[in-house]
């Protein structure tokens, strides 16, 4: 069993640390429930540096979505704090964009593709000329320039998720949160979309937190992978993905190092599940 390639952040040497882009400290979330509170996230502490691409994996039902909602300011944590570029997140921050898993339900079916991408910009107060520019650019970036006047339901699932990505990109966020964005698209489309996201991340100055249940995807995409435990969630392990920056669906996935990392992450997740079974888990006390 390969060892984790790198210990967590602590090893980054002395000197003044640059301000993290996203700083999560002691995040805890318990849902009140009907007399039986459910502890979804127990204690999460991690940070994303400016421009990083970090993937979060964990066993299913491990509170990934809860975590993401707390980060996006869509849900208040029970305790702990989230900071975006040094400012505490209390509601949805203006320099953060989200791509949801359910593309079919996160796009407005009554708006065209163009209007879907433009809507957040109107609300943001972006000028008309600049808006048009951003919409054109972001649709071109996801390869959908020709579909600007279509409605989302006229497009395939993969194309719809591209629209959602274009909308997030046009918003010009500092941080891009992606919640299992490719879980519902077919395998080939998925590969294309993964490369698209890598490409966008490298071209734009954006920090990406990518939540997935797919270990291969996490290792393929990320610079770092955080492995979560089963609920109530803690940070189980963390690994730096020391694969070359230039990634390719064929070559990267053939790389022995890819297989090692993948196996390591897989083992960690198995361990996370086993821990739960042994301790009987459950949201007690």
């Amino acid at each position: 069993m390969p060892e984790p390639a790198l210990p967590p952040d602590t090893s980054q040497g002395s000197g003044p640390m640059p301000e993290p882009m996203l700083d999560v400290v002691g995040l805890h979330k318990t849902y009140p429930g009907d007399g039986r509170p459910v502890e979804a996230v127990r204690d999460l502490t991690f940070r994303l540096e400016h421009g990083e691409f970090v993937c979060v994996v964990g066993p299913s039902g491990c509170g990934k979505t809860t975590l993401l909602k707390c980060l996006a300011g869509l849900m208040a944590p029970t305790s702990g704090r989230v900071e975006l570029a040094g400012r505490p997140v209390t509601g949805p921050p203006a320099d953060l964009a989200v791509v949801f898993q359910e593309y079919g339900r996160s796009l407005f079916p009554w708006l065209t593709v163009r209007a879907n991408v433009e809507l957040p910009l109107i609300e943001k107060g972006t000028g008309k000329a600049r808006r048009r520019e951003l919409v054109e650019e972001s649709l071109a970036a996801v390869g959908l320039s020709g579909s600007a006047d279509a409605h989302p339901w006229q497009l395939s699932g993969g194309m719809q998720q591209r629209v959602a990505i274009a909308r997030a990109v046009a918003y010009e966020p500092a941080v891009l949160l992606m919640d299992e964005p490719f879980a519902a698209v077919d395998a080939q489309t998925r590969g294309d979309l993964e490369d698209l996201v890598r490409d966008i991340w490298r071209r734009l100055d954006v920090t990406v937190l990518f939540v997935t249940h797919d270990i291969d995807e996490a290792v393929y995409l990320g610079q770092r992978v955080l492995v979560l435990s089963a609920a109530p969630t803690v940070l189980q392990e963390e690994v730096r993905v020391d694969l070359p920056e230039e990634r390719d669906q064929l070559d990267t996935r053939k790389d022995p190092r890819f297989a090692e990392l993948r196996a390591w992450a897989y083992a960690e997740i198995q361990r996370a599940k086993a821990d739960v079974h042994r301790s009987g888990a459950g949201p007690r006390e």
């Binding site: 203006a94 953060l96 339900r105 609300e123 339901w153």
Partner: protein, 271 residues
Amino acid sequence: MTAATAPARGPGTAAHAARRAFRALALPAVLIGVWWAVSSASGSYLVPPPDVIAAAFAELWFSERFFADALPSIARLLGGYALALALGIGAGLALGSAPRLRALTEPVLEFLRAVPPPVLVPLLILLAGVGNGMKVLVIVSGCVWPILLNTIEGVRAVDPVLADTCRAFGVRGTRRLRTLVLRSASPQIMAGARQALSIAIILMVISEMFASSSGLGFTVVQFQRSFAVPEMWAGIVLLGLIGVVLSLLFRRVERRVLAWHTGLRAATRGE
């Protein structure tokens, strides 16, 4: 991927249009024919043949009578309907987005909806007199419920993912109301509005049958009392025609407003 949707049944050719017109008019033509045969065979004074009714219709409604009786009725109908739409959608948006308020008001709303609006006429005459105000109020009091209750349902059913999307991108206030809430509730709102339209026509007539001296409902009753049978029939036919025209107009509006919904449903079924 694109063909599954609306344009499949485009404008079509002239032959196509002729076929459609034939299909729409064939049955009415047959029915009028049957009517003709039956009425001339029986010779009943109460069931005059279509040509007599048509003559009475032309004489009656292609005169200033149309402006004196029909037009004010239609104006009250549309006014009451518009008022009910504004009231129903407005209150529906408020109640639909406030669960506590909704729980509080629901029993009362159900009760009020269950009261048959015609029984309100005597009450409204006392409160609002016998003028236009009373007649419009009768129409509003019957129309508003299906619109209100459907709007509430529609607002409650807003997709949580879409709501989260709005929040995440900071879309709020009136823009949220317009682009998210109203649009996603529009299928239900339109269903309520369609019910309300037929209720409005019924109530327009009923409101004019009480203590009234003009209007379509009044005209029909007056002709009936004076045994002007063909004219009475002409009044009924006009009411029917108004109903048909309004429902055609409604369908046009609905097709525009709900184009996305029709397309979305077709696309979902196609997969």
